[in-house]
Subunit: 352 residues, 2 copies
């Protein structure tokens, strides 16, 4: 009984193709001999494609991507300040367009400080939480505008849109995640004392869903206070649920305190399964080090573990996670090529 | 030739009165024998006043406060979860109302890691920057609303309002601050790739004013990346200019990496002098430790130094700063009462 998984692969720009090559190596090895057959399609999308064709993401691209079961993305974005990209905004036109079009309302970002990783802040084990970031609302909706642009009377507004529908579904997902973890703790992060309308909706929604999860302990932190605790007491966090922008900020900070952005994986998930979910390292395209085998593919490989778990291939996901943890613990500080890290992780997969 | 400074004092709630008592002790000592005479008026404002009278900040209070040259505020806010305060929102009705009514468009928040302060992250000297946070615009304007509240069809919006007028004046102030510092470096922090209209206004304004300050080096960071650098390389920052909400988040994080919120001072400044500026520690009212002489008054005392500098009393400001730095360096880790810290700092003021 064989199962075909149609995977859309978007290597992207800069170090994207290098880390994705290693991620695919690991994905192949982790599914080899299983009943899963991977059917991968590569999509050329990102700054390079834009410079060649003028397209960021066409309707045809999007429709083609939708035919897949999942997406693996490296990183997109050209060289900062490239004048040819001045009006492109690859991030909005590609990355955010995918998240919004594919209704990725759960942006799942685990933070774990693994044994062997130097953190100035915490001991291994002290950082083990996951941020459930809303992915389709908030200040990311593109609902901004300006009048009198370029004049002394310019007014530029940005609207954060929050709906009961959108908040409730991500809050429910976060409670389910919290309830399945040993510590069963959920922290809402917002700024309810200033953003009173959005904050009230988030707080009321968390209160309402909490009643259905008596096993989950719930607390609340303002986003400013949350940054303090991430530095001084990261062990207090288990599951954080928060809006799109606060989640963006907190997950980069979370990466910084748990070994750096080179280890941070993420899933842009559509739990309903209506559209393919997308897995990507949190890091950017780092064009300055691209093509030199200097990038660490670990975040991309950990994203593969999230992808496998999402597909229900829990044993394979666990296998990849274990191999990564072993590789990290064995690091000597000596520099290794991107491919050497991928090979090392493949070699410690326990393939049976 | 004597100069009378009319000071409005708002001790507030929780530990506010305790730390303000020490701050006033230091302020008196630092101005003793000078040509400055302090004329202080205490205002009973905060959660306690609200519980007594139902008032948060009356028009009469506000008019009376406006007659002063400056304001010293401790901290406001009642016990979290107190049902009698559920609909009060002391933060918005008092603190933010003061900042907005008194047009405190510069929120100045220095971060210095002093010798003797343990930071898990950096060596003393490595953290020495100041955040110039916009104080009267952005998502703080109270321009939110909701429809169908409490129903499954609720939509709650929050509008960030940014004007050329408002952005330019704070950016100009930040350049002046940067130009007067030895390193002369200014970093704009925003999220221009997502908040494209507001981001564009901020970026264009910084570019335009930069042309008038060829001596100031300018760069840009997205807010998420800025949190990473605050943890991994705080020495890269000299002056940060940013919007109201990003400034709120970054300055709490900045406090966390430079010895904690107990040392973080701030000024809410109206540089035009039309209205009194307000100086306050960044910390909150901490009702759990109030009245026990457990609070560290250092942030309130450093706020007095900012107040003195704002009044043009640079020597007195320097004197207070020096005394605080000496006190911090001499700390043994033994607990001291709030008043003992104030007394120690007074005793090391070099009064001539
Ligand atoms: C590139 C950018 C639009 C994106 C975001 O803000 O979500 C990134 O920072 C992230 O966190 O995935
Ligand atoms: C109390 C709150 C409204 C305030 C703010 O968000 O500005 C505080 O966090 C601060 O930074 O002074």
């Amino acid at each position: 009984m064989s199962r075909v998984v149609k995977l859309a692969v978007i290597p992207g720009d800069g170090i994207g193709p290098e880390v994705i090559a290693e991620a695919l190596k690991v994905l192949d090895a982790a599914t080899a001999g299983s009943d899963v057959t991977l059917d991968t399609t590569h999509f050329s999308l990102g700054a390079a494609r834009f410079l060649e064709t003028g397209d960021v993401l066409t309707d045809a691209d999007l429709e083609h991507i939708k035919e897949h079961d999942a997406i693996l993305l490296g990183a997109v974005g050209g060289v900062p300040g490239d004048p040819r990209l001045a009006n492109a905004n690859i991030e909005r036109g590609l990355l955010l367009k995918l998240r919004f079009s594919l209704d990725h309302y759960v942006n799942l970002r685990p933070s774990v400080l693994y044994p062997g990783v130097a953190s100035p802040l915490a001991e291994p084990g002290a950082v083990d939480f996951v941020v459930v970031r809303e992915g389709t609302e908030g200040p990311y909706v593109g609902n901004g505008g300006a009048i009198r642009q370029g004049t002394p009377h310019e007014v530029a507004n940005e609207v954060s849109v929050n709906t009961a529908f959108g908040v409730e579904r991500v809050v429910r997902h976060a409670f389910a995640v919290a309830s399945a973890r040993p510590r069963k703790k959920l922290t809402l992060v917002h700024k309810t004392n200033v953003l009173v309308f959005a904050g009230s909706l988030w707080q009321r929604t968390v209160n309402a869903v909490a009643a259905e999860y008596p096993d989950v302990a719930v607390d609340y932190l303002h986003v400013d206070a949350a940054t303090i605790f991430l530095v001084t007491d990261p062990a207090r966090f288990d599951v954080i649920v928060t809006d799109n922008l606060f989640g963006d900020i907190l997950t980069d900070l979370a990466a910084a305190i748990s070994g750096g952005i080179g280890l941070a994986a993420s899933g842009n998930i559509n739990p309903s399964g209506q559209f393919p979910s997308m897995f990507e390292p949190v890091h950017g395209s780092a064009p300055d080090i691209a093509g030199k085998q200097l990038a660490d593919p670990t975040a991309a490989i950990l994203s593969v573990a999230l992808l496998l778990a999402h597909l229900g291939l829990d044993a394979a996901a666990e296998n990849v996670n274990r191999a990564v943890v072993a590789d990290i613990a064995a690091r000597t500080g000596e520099a290794r090529a991107t491919a050497a890290i991928g090979d090392a992780i493949v070699s410690t997969l326990s393939i049976d």
